[in-house]
């Protein structure tokens, strides 16, 4: 598939590299420093490239992946222009600027607020409950097990597409339901962050769904 990754930091760059390795065509765009785009593309290999124009970069994409900080959401959506009909996977934890907690409460979610800004796009919340260190490790397994990645959204076909990207990034996708479930998933992600950094478990941790 043609995947446009907006944001070329540790997350965007890391995921882009995994998807290019899995055979997808990856296009990086949107960075404060354009040389980061070139670096991400170079690291990701021959199937990856970059475009400094985000609006052009999303044209023709099968899926657009947002890997920017929560505070950059309005700006990136302004720069990409019209996302109507596009599958948009958002990997954005709605954190306070100082990362001390979530910026939104339990009767809404970052995912829903973002989706409200692009009502004609097909938004899937995914790729959040993971650490960049794990994304950028040689393999995704932790203790020999594949971590679960929960995702949610309202468009069935968009979820199939994102589920495939999750698989190709090396995680086990689990459909958690409609986009409103992001109200529980975003806190779960921050909970994992808390375990890693406040509780001191470190960033090479993840969650796995068990079932009998």
């Amino acid at each position: 598939m043609k995947v446009t990754v907006l944001g070329a930091g540790n997350m965007g760059g890391g995921y882009g590299r995994l998807w290019a390795a899995a055979g997808h065509e990856v296009l990086f765009s949107y960075a404060l420093d354009p040389s980061n785009l070139a670096a991400a593309a170079a690291t990701a290999g021959p199937r990856a490239s970059y475009d400094e124009d985000p609006q052009r970069a999303v044209t023709g994409a099968n899926v657009v992946v947002l890997c920017v900080p929560w505070q950059q959401v309005d700006d990136v959506l302004t720069r990409t222009g019209d996302l109507s009909g596009k599958v948009v996977a958002e990997a954005i934890s709605p954190l306070l600027t100082d990362m001390s907690g979530l910026a939104v409460g339990f009767d809404t979610s970052g995912a829903e607020q973002l989706a409200a800004k692009i009502p004609d796009a097909r938004v899937v919340m995914a790729l959040q409950n993971t650490f960049a260190d794990v994304v950028n490790a040689p393999r995704r397994e932790l203790g020999g097990q594949t971590p679960t990645m929960f995702f949610c959204g309202d468009d069935p076909a968009a979820k199939t597409t994102v589920s495939a990207l999750i698989t190709d990034a090396g995680y086990e996708p689990v459909d958690a339901g409609p986009l409103t479930v992001a109200r529980y998933l975003e806190p779960l992600c921050y909970f994992t962050v808390n375990l890693a950094y406040t509780q001191g478990l470190g960033s090479h941790i993840g969650l796995k769904l068990l079932r009998s």
């Binding site: 598939m1 055979g23 099968n62 069935p156 076909a157 979820k159 199939t160 597409t161 589920s163 495939a164 698989t167 190709d168």
Partner: protein, 205 residues
């Protein structure tokens, strides 16, 4: 194969060109006869134009590629002409609520026909541009139908134009490839898509 094709717009016209390139003999029909004639002329000696009633009884299979809103009128016009035939339904029910998935509706509407739902899931520009790929780059194309022989024919057609046929099985699971379904418009290679085929039962994990 000998293929009858009713509908020569974005989907039908694209399919006609691909099927012709793949070496099939075509009988083309359209709501606009001049379009069918011009297309047959363009494609050469292995393509002829006909009226829908003639196309419906011709060939090894008949592909329906008319606009969704035109399907009811076409079926009324054709009457029993589709009885017993392999019918490949590439239309989509835009603006029409049938109360159940179109594949199931059509099979019930044509009880003696062997209906296969195929060629309906990709944007026409993808159908146009991603055909005739070779090897692992082939895009998957899903199909559903109750008759295994009809599904096999549709699979052959899909493979012949350079997509990887993914047989989803009986029509009871066709909801997965209908508009608003989890596989509608999905573009991916076969191995990846096979890992993400939902259960045919709605609501199952």
């Amino acid at each position: 194969m000998h293929i009858a094709l009713i509908g020569t717009g974005n989907i039908g016209g694209t399919l006609a060109r691909h099927l012709s390139r793949a070496g099939h003999t075509l009988i083309l029909a359209s709501g606009r006869p001049a379009t069918a004639m011009a297309l047959a002329e363009e494609l050469g000696s292995d393509a002829t134009a006909a009226v829908p009633a003639q196309a419906a009884v011709a060939g090894d299979a008949v592909v329906l590629a008319v606009p969704g809103a035109a399907l009811d009128g076409l079926l009324d016009e054709l009457g029993e002409a589709l009885d017993g035939r392999v019918v490949v339904d590439a239309t989509n029910p835009y603006g029409v609520d049938r109360g159940l998935p179109q594949g199931q509706w059509l099979q019930q509407r044509l009880p003696t026909s062997r209906v296969v739902r195929a060629f309906n899931t990709l944007y026409w520009t993808t159908l146009r541009d991603a055909a005739f790929r070779v090897g692992p780059d082939r895009l998957a194309m899903v199909l559903s139908g109750d008759r295994e022989d009809a599904r096999a024919k549709a699979s052959t057609l899909i493979d012949s134009v350079g997509f990887a046929a993914v047989d989803l099985g009986p029509m009871s699971g066709v909801w997965r490839q209908e508009p608003d379904g989890p596989l509608y418009t999905v573009e991916m290679t076969e191995p990846l898509l096979r890992q993400h085929i939902p259960s045919p039962q709605r609501g199952a994990a």
